[in-house]
């Protein structure tokens, strides 16, 4: 797989179809492959890598890369293609400047426990590439995943238990902002968390409220646009299950406003910039589950 990809990338470079390739560069350790731009075949041969530790979603890097001169080739895993579509829909990526190569993905391994699949891959939502110019390997199917299981489990707890659970998780937050920086949906040029007046711009969380504020707002800002790629949880140095916040929004949106998968197409209107007259009243929140 890796060999085919390197050959194809070198071919594209030499033919002049693209002038750079966005892929994964081998890091110091086997598990820390980082996104990188390659411009010559020798560099590709020596450093390009594609294995089960290439978790990084390259779509986000296209926001900057597609704005530059010339065409960039990019390797996209199935879940990356959803983010890719979503960013095109938001006019963040210039599609004409991108040559997208879909690559087969069999799930990424957890860097903490290298035998195991990452949580997001164990509950993979889709192996299907929703956007590509060419494909290396095979494109799979949309899977019937069990990704909402944990959300459901939390919903069935009592209010106190949920509070304790989230207090325990969120209090570990060191406000490194990695979840924001890596998120393909977080592409605002001016971010609320960089605004000193927002009440959540500190690097060090001053008290529990700030952690709550940060995480609620972060999840809310991507609600309806989050493709559930799971990058936020992958990069969290404290292993906070941030995807559970995003999935709660996705689950609510699915239940209240109809099934919606962000990034599946480029033409659909997101659920939070849309409405119907018969939408559920906010009181549905009080009518269900435990309190």
């Amino acid at each position: 797989m890796q060999k085919v990809m390197i050959e194809r990338a070198a071919e594209l470079l030499s033919s002049g179809k693209v002038n750079r390739v966005l892929g994964w560069r081998a890091g110091l350790f086997a598990h820390d492959n980082t996104p990188s731009v390659f411009t010559d075949a020798a560099d590709l041969q020596a450093n390009f890598v594609y294995n089960e530790f290439c978790g990084a979603n390259l779509s986000k890097y296209l926001v900057k890369e597609s704005d530059k001169e010339g065409t960039v080739a990019v390797f996209l895993k199935p879940c990356d293609t959803y983010s890719f579509n979503q960013l095109i829909a938001e006019h963040k990526i210039k599609r004409d400047n991108v040559y997208a190569i879909g690559v087969q993905c069999n799930g990424m391994k957890d860097v903490n426990d290298r035998e195991k699949l990452e949580e997001r891959c164990a509950s993979c939502k889709s192996r299907k590439h929703v956007a590509y110019d060419e494909l290396i390997g095979e494109s799979g199917e949309i899977l019937d995943s069990n990704r909402f299981d944990m959300v459901e489990k939390l919903e069935n707890m009592t209010s106190e238990e949920r509070f304790e659970f989230w207090r325990g998780e969120l209090s570990r937050c060191v406000r490194c902002n990695a979840c924001r920086n890596v998120c393909p949906a977080c592409t605002c040029e001016k971010c609320i968390f960089d605004n000193p007046d927002s009440g959540s711009a500190n690097k060090a969380p001053a008290d529990p409220f700030e952690e709550n504020l940060f995480h609620i707002i972060r999840a809310f800002h991507v609600a309806g646009r989050c493709t559930d790629c799971g990058e936020c949880s992958r990069v969290c140095p404290e292993n906070i299950p941030l995807h559970l916040l995003n999935r709660k929004f996705i689950k609510d949106i699915n239940e209240l406003y109809g099934e919606y998968q962000a990034g599946e197409t480029v033409n659909e209107r997101g659920p939070l910039v849309n409405y119907t007259q018969g939408d559920a009243e906010p009181s549905v929140v009080y009518e269900r589950g435990n309190s």
Partner: protein
């Protein structure tokens, strides 16, 4: 009304849209309907002006309950503002509930300019509910406390 100093009085923030609910509050006033003084009204141009951060910030700065009042769906002065607000607030309140913050502390109510009585009644019942819940401990900003 005589109040014992130890009685808990909640702080309620009510975001009222300029065109319906704020006028409804006015009507409640001119009709001399009673509703608790614990309710602090913030006038917003439309219920969809209420950013989720406003709600969280209100809680952080010591509010015990937050209520958002807007025009009835279909009656928005700006045609569709309250429809967007409805989706947004539903998701936000569901998220707060998910994080273990008591769901009764938040509410959305549609009050028209002619519904002074409904305004007073809504505020009375909301204040009563929040009073029962007591102080907002789960979502307070300790920095804002004296």
């Amino acid at each position: 009304m005589q109040m014992n100093d130890n009685t808990f009085r909640p702080k309620i923030v009510a975001f009222c849209c300029n065109w319906c609910s704020y006028a409804g509050a006015d009507l409640a006033g001119t009709n001399r309907l009673n509703y608790p003084a614990d309710v602090k009204i913030i006038r917003v141009p439309c219920s969809c002006r209420v950013n989720p951060t406003f709600v969280l910030r209100a809680f952080g700065r010591g509010a015990d309950g937050v209520i958002i009042c807007g025009c009835h769906p279909g009656d928005c002065h700006y045609t569709s503002g309250n429809y967007y607000a409805r989706r947004r607030m539903t998701l936000l309140f569901s998220m707060l509930d998910y994080l273990g913050i008591e769901r009764e502390r938040t509410r959305v109510e549609w009050v028209s300019a002619a519904e002074g009585a409904k305004f007073a009644q809504t505020m009375n019942s909301f204040v009563e509910t929040v009073t029962k819940l007591g102080k907002n401990k789960r979502l307070e900003d300790l920095r804002c406390k004296k």
